[in-house]
């Protein structure tokens, strides 16, 4: 193949076109995200689809969330024990595990797990429907795909991620207690009372608002990449990968700003 052939295959995009493209993508994403919410107030509401998605996302993700939560709490206890031991403050282990788990690691790790599992699932499912004209067929049959497909996924993800995070937090605390009592020889009663007493309203509030936001990110990003898939099976594969990458990065990025905002708003220590 001549070099000219190869060159002509590489598309040259000017910076302004590139910027326009990105702005358009952000516009489209925002539109989809806002529609997914406003559809909640319009009829029909696809309850059966919401429940089906909730089952898929919630119960489907339960095993990985249980495992991640448990081992995260356990390893957290191991690591903090090393540093706390030096100050002779091993009894603080419960407090450290519970604050890290509830405020930060529970929501973020659960979010990342569900992003990897469901953001990709949504992007590939909706993407295949786009490239096989099933989305067009749905519109032709008089159904709004954002109502029938996007809103149920968003609702179900937000709802289920909230509960999955609570379960993950709990499993983290159990993992921590296993390490504290079995490996470090701490009193189990002492561990649990310190984890419980140290949590204040702000910690819990922060830990519960995060999964709501993350669930919204995971589902809207997954649906957006799926709905904008182009170019056959390859396009669907690309959409799937991009959805996981984008939602994971967004979760971590948004987590920082959200934490900062909540600290300011709630007047933390």
């Amino acid at each position: 193949m001549a070099a000219g052939d190869l060159l002509s295959k590489i598309e040259l995009i000017s910076p302004s076109d590139f910027a326009k493209e990105k702005v358009r993508a952000i516009q489209e994403y925002s539109l989809l995200a806002s529609q997914s919410l406003s559809n909640l107030f319009k009829r029909p509401l696809y309850m059966a689809d919401i429940l089906q998605q909730a089952d898929l996302i919630g119960f489907g993700s339960l095993p990985i969330v249980l495992l991640t939560g448990f081992f995260t709490g356990a390893v957290l206890a191991l690591n903090t024990a090393a540093s706390l031991g030096r100050f002779g403050a091993l009894s603080l282990i419960g407090q450290l595990v519970s604050i890290s788990m509830v405020r930060e690691l529970g929501p973020v790790l659960t979010g990342l797990m569900v992003a990897g599992r469901n953001s990709s699932g949504m992007a590939s499912e909706l993407g295949s429907m786009v490239v096989t004209e099933q989305i067009d067929a749905m519109r032709a049959l008089g159904t709004d795909p954002t109502k029938k497909l996007v809103t149920p996924r968003v609702t179900a993800t937000v709802f289920m991620l909230f509960f999955l995070t609570i379960i993950s937090d709990l499993l983290g605390l159990i993992g921590g207690s296993m390490v504290a009592t079995l490996l470090l020889g701490l009193d189990s009663h002492e561990y649990w009372s310190s984890t419980y007493q140290t949590l204040v309203f702000q910690d819990v509030f922060m830990g519960l608002i995060k999964p709501v936001i993350f669930g919204f990110i995971i589902s809207t990003v997954g649906c957006y990449y799926g709905m904008s898939a182009r170019g056959g099976t390859q396009g669907v594969g690309k959409a799937t990968t991009e959805a996981v990458v984008a939602s994971s990065v967004l979760i971590i990025g948004v987590d920082f700003f959200l934490t900062r905002l909540l600290i300011v708003l709630l007047g933390f220590r």
Partner: protein, 282 residues
């Protein structure tokens, strides 16, 4: 907001009032990535008529059907469907209009995660107007009509291409919409099955008086439709008696290079002097 302005430019041949037109294309142009696909296309489909669209592959036939449904928007021009200008409508209002239109996609576009029964029942389920039992009966009737009564519980991936096409037809006609858009309903089918489908389209036209646009690559099929009518007493398609030509509301439209080069009935087509058309129909 979407009160349609009736176009004055095109007057239907029969001289009916505006509501007598199911679909009107008015100077519609569309360009895909610097490639003009439609270039000032105008035509009118009177109510109750079936119009067959011809043109070589890639001439924009499927595009015309998608434009009529409002699935995409033209760069310029207006499209009126059942009196409403779909080029100016919001997506929300389009969903209402589309409920009165049935579409058979070229690649069938069945929902692959739903069974054949649920695919065909889709519209009825969405409308929540009927009890499940009634829906089952209607689905069975529609599927029997296309000779697929036994496939109710199968998934589209388990069917052959021709069977999928017929399921798509059953899905489109189950609510008896006022307008039907068929995209190559007989493409790639054996002669026996395609005759069944031709008969079905003729029945829609003559019994239910549905207005339809029909994309096809087989001139043969369209000529069959033009010289047959549906006889209710025998419940079969019958040839028109010699001499009573153009009795059925069937017309032809040929696209070339984004323009309409022929729009008229079978008789006019047979008498056309245009070289390209002569070659096309020979």
């Amino acid at each position: 907001m979407t009160t349609p302005l009736q176009p004055a430019a095109i007057s239907p041949a029969s001289g009916q009032e505006p509501s007598g037109r199911a679909i009107v294309f008015e100077n519609v142009s569309l360009t895909f990535e610097a490639k003009p696909v439609l270039d000032g296309v105008s035509f009118c489909l009177p109510r109750g008529e079936t119009k067959a669209l011809f043109g070589v592959a890639g001439s924009g036939k499927s595009t015309i059907l998608k434009l009529a449904l409002g699935l995409m928007k033209p760069d310029s021009g207006h499209i009126y469907v059942l009196g409403e200008d779909v080029t100016q409508m919001r997506e929300d209002d389009l969903f209402e209009l589309r409920r009165q239109i049935g579409m058979v996609f070229q690649e069938s576009a069945l929902f692959d995660s739903l069974t054949v029964r649920d695919n065909v029942a889709y519209r009825l389920e969405e409308e929540h107007a009927l009890p499940e039992k009634e829906i089952d009966a209607r689905v069975h009737e529609a599927l029997t009509f296309v000779e697929l009564g036994h496939t109710m519980e199968m998934y589209p991936s388990e069917l052959s291409g021709g069977m999928r096409r017929r399921v798509a037809i059953a899905r489109a006609i189950i609510t008896q919409p006022e307008v039907l858009l068929y995209d190559s309903p007989t493409g790639g089918l054996d002669p026996v099955t395609s005759t069944t489908i031709v008969e079905l389209i003729v029945k829609q036209r003559d019994v239910y008086k549905t207005s339809s646009l029909l994309v096809t690559h087989r001139l043969q099929d369209a000529f069959t439709m033009a010289n047959h009518y549906f006889d209710r007493t025998s419940n079969r398609m019958q040839p028109l008696a010699q001499g009573s030509k153009a009795d059925v509301p069937m017309t032809f439209l040929i696209l070339r290079d984004g323009k309409v080069i022929f729009d008229g009935d079978a008789q006019a087509l047979a008498q056309s002097e245009d070289e390209y058309i002569r070659e096309y129909i020979s």
